[in-house]
């Protein structure tokens, strides 16, 4: 790279270079005069380098092609622009983009905190009922009435069990 360093936040040449160690990892930022001013780098009390670093690290260098979220239409270049994702499904679509960022961004790469157990149970219940209802429709369509009756009973059982569980 023979080019002079560009500012991490805009296309101007960088004249301010900062290095900081956070959680024993070295972070570097290069900024132009205007961005350094705007980000308050010159004001030691109001300035958080780590904040800035996080935002800078949101620009993934590797371009993993032009990915697009099927659910919400969000694209990888949208992410470069906004630093935010479009919907929860984006985390599956852009997994290859997110995973390398997590290591510098966080104190680990796997969640070890609170789990919304009830919400998860509810979701697996919805999914199961939805699958069974598909089976049921399929069975009726192909005139397998015994299968259909069994599936219908199973749906009722699953619903009953869930409602009892929720009532507890």
């Amino acid at each position: 790279m023979a080019n002079p360093l560009k500012c991490d936040l805009c296309p101007k040449p960088a004249t301010v270079h900062l290095t900081q160690i956070v959680n024993s990892k070295v972070h570097k930022v290069d900024l132009c005069e205007a961005c350094a001013q705007a980000k308050g780098v010159t004001d030691p009390s109001g300035f958080s380098l780590s904040d800035l670093l996080l935002k800078a690290s949101l620009n993934p260098e590797s371009s993993v092609g032009g990915l697009r979220c099927e659910r919400c239409g969000f694209t990888q270049s949208d992410f470069k622009k906004h630093g935010r994702f479009g919907c929860p499904i984006c985390y599956e679509t852009f997994r290859g983009v997110v995973e390398p960022m997590l290591e510098t961004m966080h104190n680990g790469t796997a969640h070890t905190g609170k789990i919304p157990h009830r919400a998860i149970e509810r979701k697996s219940f919805y999914d199961r009922v939805a699958r069974l209802e598909l089976d049921l429709a399929e069975a009726i369509k192909s005139e397998r009435y015994e299968d259909a009756a069994r599936t219908r009973d199973e749906i009722n059982q699953v619903k009953q069990a869930f409602n009892q569980h929720v009532a507890l």
Partner: protein, 363 residues
Amino acid sequence: MTISSLIDTPSELTDSVSTKTAIVLMTRIRLARNLAGHAFPGWAKPAQRVESFALCRAAVAATPQMKRSVDVAIADITELERQILVERHLISRELSGAKAGAGVIISKDQAFSVMMNEEDHLRIQVLRAGFNLKRAWSSINDLDSALEDNLDFAFSPTLGYLTACPTNLGTGMRASAMMHLPALVISNQMEKIVRAVNQLGMVVRGLFGEGSDASGSIFQISNQTTLGESEAEIIKRLGSVLQSIVEHELNARGKLLEADASKLFDKVGRAFGILQNSHLLSSSEAMNLLSLIRLGVDLGSFPEARRAMIDRLFIEAQPGHLQHAQKGEFDPGQRDVIRATRLRSEFADFVRPDFDLKNKTKS
């Protein structure tokens, strides 16, 4: 309830007299949550925003914590009312500028507030006076669980709660403390502290969060990372950082008194004189003077019971609150006159400082 009723109702932040609030004014925890299957607010189309707002609003309003709450859409309140909510730390600056399909529900005691369609569908917040991380966590955890009964949160077993910005993944939790650190500022140690705190993975900000200045020597310290540690671990780590900052501040106060007590007393005494007699006070000067009076309370020059009044004035001397009290909009120059008038009257019958600290037992 209405926004203006918030100002006259006793609240967690403005009416605490406990000595526990001496250095840590308040503890705050917020959780970022999103609805599964809905686009994040920043990307959602207007109709989708309205839909997710309605879903969240109904669920939040139904929780026991939000009985008799203030429940407003941002579009339905005035610019001034929004500013008041920002000054009371009940909404963020970002939410105050939000488009349609955004709002906030605030509990009667103003301890809980839930912002809807800010950066995430839900930003659940709890405020507690003083150094109270564990109690704050247990109350916000209850509210979050109550919401979980009626809302399907976006969650991944490996990434945790899914948030619009990957910096909030995992717990989605930002725990913070608002600290009054005048001695560290006077003795020029803040830069060193900020650096050390950053290295421990914590962030230091000014009074009103990102990009705000630290007038009044008030700083917010919070965790930077949200993924890879449990809520309890983050809180424990933050708690020990806060504890050590408290010790540094106390040491710095001790050293200032030892090295040149008159210099410190001079600052407190002059601040008292200006507050009693000035006719023009900018917001930032007022904050710095109040900060010195507050330090005076901590040192024993003023009675302990006066600290709550200072903490209330920290908020009520802000532009939004001043204009609300005067029932009008004023330009910054006029506000400085109004602010000075208000503070002169507040300090007119304030006890004179007593700098003879030797007779007092050190607290």
